[in-house]
Symmetry: C2
Subunit: 474 residues, 2 copies
Amino acid sequence: MSFLIQQVLMPVDQGYATVDVDIEADRITAIVPQNSPLSRGNQSFTVKGQNKLLLPGFVNAHTHSSEMWQRGIIPPLPLELWLAELYDFTPLELEQVYLSALGTAVETLLSGGTSVVDHLVLIPGQEIETVAAAVRAYQEIGIRAFIGPLIQDEALAKGIPDGDTKREHEAYLRSTSETLALMQEMIDQFHNPEAGVNILVAPTGIQLCSEALFEGCIELSDRYTLCRHAHLLETKAQKLLAQEKYGCSAVEYLNRIGYLNSRTSLAHCVWLDEADIKILAETHSTVVHNPLSNLRLGSGIAPILKYRQAGVNVTFGCDGAASNDSQDLLEAIKMGSLLHNTTELDYHHWITPRQAIKMASFGGAKGLNLADELGSLMVGKKADLVLYDLTNLSLLPRTDPIGLLVLGRPTNVVDSVWVNGEQVVADGKITRIDTDELRKELFERSQWMVNRQSETVRQLESHYRRVMGLLDYS
Amino acid sequence: MSFLIQQVLMPVDQGYATVDVDIEADRITAIVPQNSPLSRGNQSFTVKGQNKLLLPGFVNAHTHSSEMWQRGIIPPLPLELWLAELYDFTPLELEQVYLSALGTAVETLLSGGTSVVDHLVLIPGQEIETVAAAVRAYQEIGIRAFIGPLIQDEALAKGIPDGDTKREHEAYLRSTSETLALMQEMIDQFHNPEAGVNILVAPTGIQLCSEALFEGCIELSDRYTLCRHAHLLETKAQKLLAQEKYGCSAVEYLNRIGYLNSRTSLAHCVWLDEADIKILAETHSTVVHNPLSNLRLGSGIAPILKYRQAGVNVTFGCDGAASNDSQDLLEAIKMGSLLHNTTELDYHHWITPRQAIKMASFGGAKGLNLADELGSLMVGKKADLVLYDLTNLSLLPRTDPIGLLVLGRPTNVVDSVWVNGEQVVADGKITRIDTDELRKELFERSQWMVNRQSETVRQLESHYRRVMGLLDYS
């Protein structure tokens, strides 16, 4: 299959150029001035690019797809308590995993994403089947998938600092070695980059993982050249916990055990200090900024301008839909750039719309060790492309297309999406699945509700408030 | 005209109820359990409310409609320099004012707003005609309009603190008395609450207005019972300026001259201290929170939780589309609630989705001195109503409808809107104007551009950086 996108706007150094873009199979094979003789090849068909903007696909670099079942329902709570409620009601059916992976992919594709990093919550006892369900969804819809099965080997309550109490903790339901054996099986069964499915090692984070689990993940990552992923210092409580657990910062700890390298992406990174930032820069780790989730859970504002000044690669994620509560990448990009203007008086350091777009595309590719293959409009790169309709009301009047896209609130602006050269969105519609059918399934398997009560929140809240120095309301 | 909305979800104290809502002419005349005999009147027609949520319309409580012509184009700059660029390229044609008022109304209506407060930039020499153009747009499309002609009597450069320099300032193009005479004429010609058009007195703020101008506005406001509006302490620079100008805070000053009362709404309110907040509470003034604009311009995070704790009425605005760069009220409501979770560790104080909805509807009505008429679903109130389609993918799976609406990123969810009992949106479409024609006009009267250079920014920047203590890059 080959095709030509004709007369499309693309960003160049000094503004925009109108070009023809030739795609052969899965690659961009030519980008030439519009109507150049070079662009008249033997393409199977052409796509009209007039009044449209072409950009490389973004990466939704951190999410948890099955949280979609709980979006809009969890009340204002900080991460540690929010997580307790989330887990009390986590979906336990494989069909739910499949449907929410589809939903996550739909919203990602329709907001400019071509890749998704799914830090996937596993159904206990059906771990392999959980991954299979997500893989099935992503392959059907045609998004490039990076699945990091979310593993831990310590029970939830251990993620809250002890303070001066000496709490006993129950054991986690799976042992470390069982967990690593599952990871091995998942890699064997599903890791297939050529088919657009990649497995990542993804221990949830220092708050719920033993050193043995991290070490096992490092070993697997090195043996199969897998990317590494984890949550890192999302909350103040986690910063306190790292000091309790290791007597040093979480970043120093992860560096010491060798978890940090250029294949490592770390979600959140809100509570790092200067020394931590230096380590991330030196190890070429990637920060995944999840601005909406960090606000929703009151985690704080990640020091993104400092990361950029220190040369740390930064990209954006939506995070799971129960802490956002959407999977709209353009929203994450907007908030992830604007938020930091309040942290720095000198506007020369503020993130521009063009920088934001590059962070979301090239920065995302880099964090997945794929900077040579993805993330920019260049001959030879994979054809993971998004075409935006610039005649949409939300992008009018005409000014700077990228400014409108990043700073506005674009609605229904994605006209077409290609992943690996295959079209997965056409004329604003998902091509490979029936989204009305998806809506019907999501509707029928859910119900309107309010005032859900979480037993685990009830159990943990008083201890949480105590160690965080909050007044006790009980 | 009378009609019945059947079997619709509406929020009640303990969750949601399914009700029938009867509307006669411009008022809600009955809200009864679904299929109640009481609900079978002599309505002209019925509206199916099944799987839909009914809410009172929100107020877009602070915007500048003609900024739409410059959305997406102004680079990352703080307010004082951003304003310089904005004014260098401000639209000067009446037809532009008309079209951007339509565009502002479309986006407001399609994101749940039924009222708009347009702090309207006036074309020099065509001030009356500018207001006439906006009035024409708002009456055509059918939104409830509150127009505050943006007046000042001091030149732009005076809005930046002098620091230790002794700058000379040119006179503003209109004198104070000429400006007040224009206001008188606008009130005479356009103020017509019964027809849905209200004039506000709206001096831009202490940074560019003399005491005589404020006093003239107070006099007009009292004579005609008009609401009062102004920008207030949006930036750190304005806080410095108030000290330079008055030797006290801007709030103390406005209170002393008698500008603050229960008909006064104040946009931004970012740089207030505890004493200022107390004054706002005592005078029953309303704060209009513009979270997106405050982030975009790096103005800061307004202390909204403190306002709420002090009993100050707070509502939301989009602000003009050159500092946002959208007019989506649901986005402003989402960000205006979530942002503050990072300023307060105790989640018991965080704004819930239900509180946010009430701030946007009832809080908005209160700020316009219309709490008896607008802002809640109650028998006897005006029928300014919005019906949301809960089967939209962005609101699925089903959980808490208001949680989904506020915390998600709803797209195309507004099914119907009524203003004063008249339908202005049906089946997701604006009924009274042709939005394709609007798109065409906005498209044809604009062009894609980058790297626009503002002469006034060039002139002001070095002084701005100096008084704000920023390194000089020149």
